[in-house]
Subunit: 570 residues, 2 copies
């Protein structure tokens, strides 16, 4: 019998970083530790020692030192808590929010750590939800459409303001000195791996999904970048790298310095970086086509694998080697799911249900779930469009908004709660239909993320609406588990790990025992309701009635004019 071996995954989230130490043999989760970033999300003003400048409301920055503090805090803690000898840890991997990017010097020093740039907001890490690059994204989309760029359909016809080149172009537009001083523009994921190994690598996942890279076509051409701005023409060669590694590769061995930070052995295998949602796929047991992974939290990210590249209406991206090497990884998304339910609980549920929750010693969510589960499909008479935060897939339209139809004087909160869950399920079904239509088959759903383990009604509704079995990943920290799995793959079978993520998933990933199967009677009712959903979806989402856009325009105008005191009663 061999002595046990371990791997560590570190998941860098929006507010904190989490390390997970797992047994390589079976994926058993041995110890975990969380570090809450000292500066969290920097969205009001820069830190005091950086001058404290105010930020506009659509800005969201981070401090790269928080990532290093995460490494220095959490890895020693999981080693200490577990009592595992560092020599037994054969590899590690990390995953990150994305696109979260920063400008650095040739030796990897973030510009925001240099005194001459510390007070410049553009020198800091731009977090995924930094939304101030919308004008640049608009320019990218117009230019790509005008030049007929072939890569545009791979991204559902639209590049997001959250992605790499929009953020890079904003730096060039607003802070050319920062742009020029930056020897590299890099995903935080790749930057952290650089800090761990001592040399720069780029991963196919962030490059493919966020920086318009493909294995066969590389990055967009210089003609395209030049059309955005002549100074932007050679960005790839000047500030990125054309050498992009598939996920599952070994980025290198742990440097002496990083060994000192973490307490791990120098030379420990470090995997190429990854993205939180995408790294969850093998951690949810999926390494083959046919099963869609739905990472369901505040929003939902849908991931499917397939042998070939196809154009799927409204997808966020398709990337070869981006999730599992050798396969094309498809991504789609719903920008608000748990967020809609949280909105409803915070802003539209009357006091009596909070009282009920207190009485029953449970949560408001649990009370609503219980009350809503007493309703039959169709009983509420309600139907919603789940567009509280726009629609990503398949309409790719941030200006769409929510709809609720069917209210009467007898409508009660649990009915609306259920209708909102159903609406997000219908939204998922539109995406699944889109994949199936494009001949990228989806036969089953594997759910992971914050919601699935908590809300059984939610999961059953998804099974009934989709007419598919829905299973749930056993781990409640699939990103960190996935990163640890890639760490074991970076080590390889010879060092006691695995030679592929497929092998690692077969041993280290598991599904929970619960499995939600469609109830045929409910499914029949939901088929009818889904037809109504599609009709509203197409009316409001495809130009039948653009009332949502006009309401937004009227709203902008109302907010733009000076407040006329005569309008007010007070």
């Amino acid at each position: 019998m061999t002595r046990p071996r371990y791997a560590i995954g570190v998941d860098f989230g929006t507010e904190s970083g989490r390390a997970l130490l797992v047994d390589v043999a079976d994926g058993r989760e041995v110890a975990t530790a969380v570090y809450s970033y000292r500066h969290g999300v920097i969205d009001e003003r820069l830190p005091d020692d950086a001058g404290g400048a105010r930020l506009d409301h659509d800005w969201a920055l981070q401090d790269p030192e928080d990532y290093l503090r995460t490494l220095r805090t959490t890895i020693p803690k999981v080693l200490a808590d577990s009592g595992v000898e560092p020599g037994r840890v054969i590899g590690m991997g990390i995953d990150f929010t994305s696109c979260t990017m920063l400008p650095v010097t040739r030796d990897g020093t973030p510009l925001c750590l240099l005194p001459e740039f510390r007070t410049n907001r553009h020198a800091w890490v731009k977090l995924w939800k930094h939304h101030a690059a919308q004008p640049e994204a608009d320019r990218i989309n117009e230019t790509a459409a005008r030049l007929g760029e072939k890569w545009l359909p791979r991204y559902g016809g639209r590049i997001s303001a959250e992605w790499f080149f929009a953020k890079a172009l904003q730096i060039l537009d607003e802070a050319p000195d920062v742009y020029h001083a930056a020897d590299r523009l890099i995903e935080a994921a790749d930057w952290v791996v650089w800090q761990l190994t001592g040399h720069e690598t780029r991963n196919a996942c962030t490059a493919g999904y966020k920086a318009i890279w493909s294995k066969r076509g590389g990055f967009p051409g210089e003609r395209f970048f030049a059309a955005l701005d002549p100074r932007f023409e050679r960005i790839v060669d000047e500030k990125l790298s054309r050498f992009v590694l598939p996920v599952g590769e070994r980025a290198g061995g742990l440097s002496q310095q990083a060994a000192g930070w973490t307490g791990l052995r120098p030379g420990t295998a470090v995997a190429v970086a990854n993205v939180d949602a995408h790294v969850s796929v093998p951690a949810a047991t999926v390494t083959e086509p046919g099963r869609m992974v739905a990472v369901i939290g505040t929003s939902t990210c849908h991931l499917v694998l397939h042998e070939v590249s196809r154009t799927v209406e409204g997808m966020c991206g398709v990337v070869e080697d981006g999730i599992v090497p050798g396969l094309f990884g498809y991504e789609a998304g719903q920008p608000a799911v748990g967020d809609i339910l949280a909105w409803f609980l915070d802003h539209a549920v009357p006091a009596e249900y909070r009282a009920l929750a207190q009485q029953r010693g449970t949560s408001l969510h649990a009370v609503l779930e219980e009350e809503a589960s007493k309703l039959r499909p169709g009983e509420s008479g309600l139907l919603a469009l789940d567009w509280w935060n726009g629609n990503r897939s398949i309409l790719v339209d941030v200006d769409l908004t929510g709809v609720l139809v069917g209210m009467t004087l007898a409508t009660r909160a649990p009915e609306i709660y259920r209708a909102l869950i159903e609406a997000t399920a219908f939204g998922t079904r539109v995406i699944v239909d889109s994949f199936n239509q494009a001949k990228v088959p989806v036969n089953e759903i594997v759910a992971c993320g914050g919601l699935p383990a908590k809300n059984r009604l939610f999961m059953q509704i998804y099974a009934d609406v989709l007419g598919l079995d829905v299973s749930v990943a056993a781990s409640t920290q699939t990103p960190a588990l996935g990163s640890a799995m890639f760490g074991a793959v970076a080590a390889g079978a010879r060092e006691g790990g695995y030679d592929s993520i497929i092998d690692a998933a077969a041993r280290m990933a598991r599904l929970a025992d619960v499995r939600y199967r469609p109830n045929p009677a409910s499914q029949a009712v939901y088929d009818e309701l889904y037809a109504e959903y599609r009709r509203l979806h197409d009316c409001f989402g495809r130009g039948g009635n653009d009332v949502m856009k006009r309401l937004k325009r009227i709203r902008s105008t109302a907010l733009a004019v000076d407040r006329d005191p005569a309008v007010l009663l007070a």
Copy 2:
């Protein structure tokens, strides 16, 4: 200087009756008294001494003795409280909910007071909101359409299940013994006047609006009634009366017996009966064409006068002499207005606003009004269809339901509250447009009822949305005041009253000092939003997308099938 003279109005509501004693010279409200009906609304079971039989959920009955108790209690009380000598009271009038009707014997005895019928639910008063006669209403509408009855357009193309012949036909269908034992079928309004004067009269208001009567055409013909049921053929001659008096007439003098009940002098002038909403029109100063009276409470009733009869799309009815003698009175309606806001407050406002109300020592309504009044028109980005209880005017469709469009994660309760108010205002504008299109002009709104005095934001929004001046009746009890005014008219100028309701209104009715004028900037925004409202209105209300009806059908099916335990999680 003449000694002051007084008149009394008694307003019979749904839960209680109210007497108001006013000065005939200027309408000053001297004393008021309320009697809460002992049996209130009988909608669960008959009283114990009537056998206590259970009622179906759509039944709503009353006890006629509650009406007499109202007279015996409230009139002596206003006399006592005011110290007014009975001889100084020159006349009285009453108004009632309608259609509220009952079967009685030839001498006016309600069948429910006879031992042989006391336990029979059909022997009791059917209250206006008794909704169990829907099958009969459907039969009436189908038959009228098939026979091409000329009166149908006067009622917006649809007779309501609440109205007289639907209720009468239900008695015939379900209790032919009661139907045959009833010498008269009569509006409670007319029955109370009968009790006061000792002889039967019928008024043009209830006959016209609720019993398909018109001054020029009388009731529908026997061919129509026979087509409904051969036994129904001669209902008018057998159980009603073709002798219908215009409002403003004197029904008779107070009988000896009624004088004993009330403490008034025998012979005191009693006006022909009236309906609560309609009697409010002169009490709100309106006796001429051009100004629309909006009685705004749980629902809204819209009343307009005009010299000639025209067909207005979706009106509830047009009746000559029905509101002011010599003019055609038009009625339209919105079935839920205050009810929608009450629904919102009870079922969709989070606890924090209740806490705020407590903190500020005010009501939840007041807090929401204050917060919503800080928003500019269009700022919420929301738009609603106010169909929580169907749409009466102008679509005449009980199966329509509410819609809310435009929600985002930033949407807050005061924005929805404001959008709901705006939606009811847009609904009113559709009605006003329909009148103006039919050349029944509406140039100004006079509001009365429960809401206008309480909610200034509501009134300002109406002025801005309608683009019309909105004034408010000074009295908060316009029905009772209107009834007292008609009492003064029944007495006539020779007895110190007035010869016409126009003269009475000129002296006894007043507007409040406040007047809401449209703000041009707000009006411009609301014109844009109204165009959006109309587009949704026509899409969902005129067959563009019948999703509301299909959701109701799916709901009925869901409720009809036996609950399948496999559907439930518990």
